[in-house]
Amino acid sequence: MTIILGIFLLTLLVIVAIGIVQAEDLFTGVMLTGIFSLLMAANFFVLDAADVALTEAAVGAGISTVLLLGGLALMPGRERRPRKMHWLALGVVTLTTMMVVYATFEKPRLGDPQAPVHQHVAPWYLEMTPELIDIPNVVTAVLGSFRGYDTLGEVIVVFTAGIGVLFLLGLPGAVGERRPEELAAGRSYLGHHLIPQVLGTLLIPFILLFALYVQFHGEYGPGGGFQAGAIFAAGMVLYSLIAGEREALMIITPRTLMILMAGGALLFGGVGVLTMLLGGGFLDYNVLAQNPVTGQQWGILIIELGVGLTVTGVLLAIYHAFAARGR
């Protein structure tokens, strides 16, 4: 039965994607991209990927929509009406689609337990996690410990994107002459209206609490650093929309944001160097405690914290870079 739900969601996905390409008003396109991400998250859940669904919903449907809208506010919102249809591109695209569809006939069917992807390393992970690391969520175990190098590289990529956006757009008060106090005073934002203000001040503490819960619960259920960072950033973006850019930047100052961004990545690398100093290899958590299993759990906890800090700092800094520009 769930396969019918999966097919229904996938068809909706294709319709929304064609709608995004056809939409002339870019605001409509951005909203449809948010819907696309949410449908994708539902699809991931139908396919048993709970962690990935949570991340896609938090990052794709939440933060990405806000960032795209923030960027869209700085430029004209309509696409110029295209003069002619791009026949060559359409031909190339149709040909490639047919080739890919022809290639998929060789693939194993959905859910086939004999597919090659389920044979070599994955059963080893599923067997060895209760023995070596002893946490219930296998995805966090693989992310944090078995494939820890990939996660370190990915944190550095997020950090690089953050400093890239700061190089291009700049934050008032981070470096340079503009200070947050020079921005237009708040209260002309959503806080001007009573209902969003009341709701926002009611909900923001719970959103931040939920972000902390997701951060530290990542070992027992779906969760972890990436999702927690995105939810924390979303809570602070809500506050910034209600109270105004100036108040938000005076509460979490640009200096704090830069310390968060760099501090998380430093924490992650620092754990690696610490394990080398204690005698193991780089990112070998066995040496962090007397019992190797406890050492693994400590290691995963600390690096997830590092990931959460960096993702929060980067997403918030990028949002403020867009929102404070041109004021």
Binding site: I20, M40, N43, D51, A122, L126
Partner: protein
């Protein structure tokens, strides 16, 4: 019944090409960015489709249940990092588009090329 088993892959092919068409055929730069994010979404769909095992559940080991079937955790780990990298790329691309708009006054690709040639 074969269609149902392969439907995910066909949707992947269609989404891939819809996103790719937006990148190569639309001159507006924000439309290209949106097409790129559709393209990335299609690739995520391919990987997560490969991880499902029939009759399995999410790979969270319940203590005390010894013979449950779990879906494959490995593609999920790869896609988890890929999603966050995707949004970082989109944000950086958007910052570049904002600066291009401030420098040229337009975000249509052919107009920026024309303005470049005129200088």
């Amino acid at each position: 019944m074969e269609i149902l088993g392969l439907f995910n892959y066909w949707v992947f092919a269609v989404l891939l090409m819809v996103g790719f068409y937006a990148v190569i055929a639309k001159p507006n730069m924000i439309k290209k960015l949106l097409g790129l994010s559709i393209f990335q979404g299609a690739v995520f769909l391919l990987y997560i489709t490969m991880d499902k095992v029939e009759g399995g559940t999410a790979p969270i080991i319940q203590s005390g249940v010894t013979d449950a079937i779990y879906s494959n955790p490995l593609p999920q780990v790869l896609i988890l990092t890929a999603i966050v990298v995707g949004i970082s790329t989109t944000a950086l691309g958007l910052a570049l588009v904002v600066r291009i708009y401030e420098a040229y006054g337009t975000v249509e690709e052919d107009e920026t090329q024309r303005l470049d040639l005129e200088e």
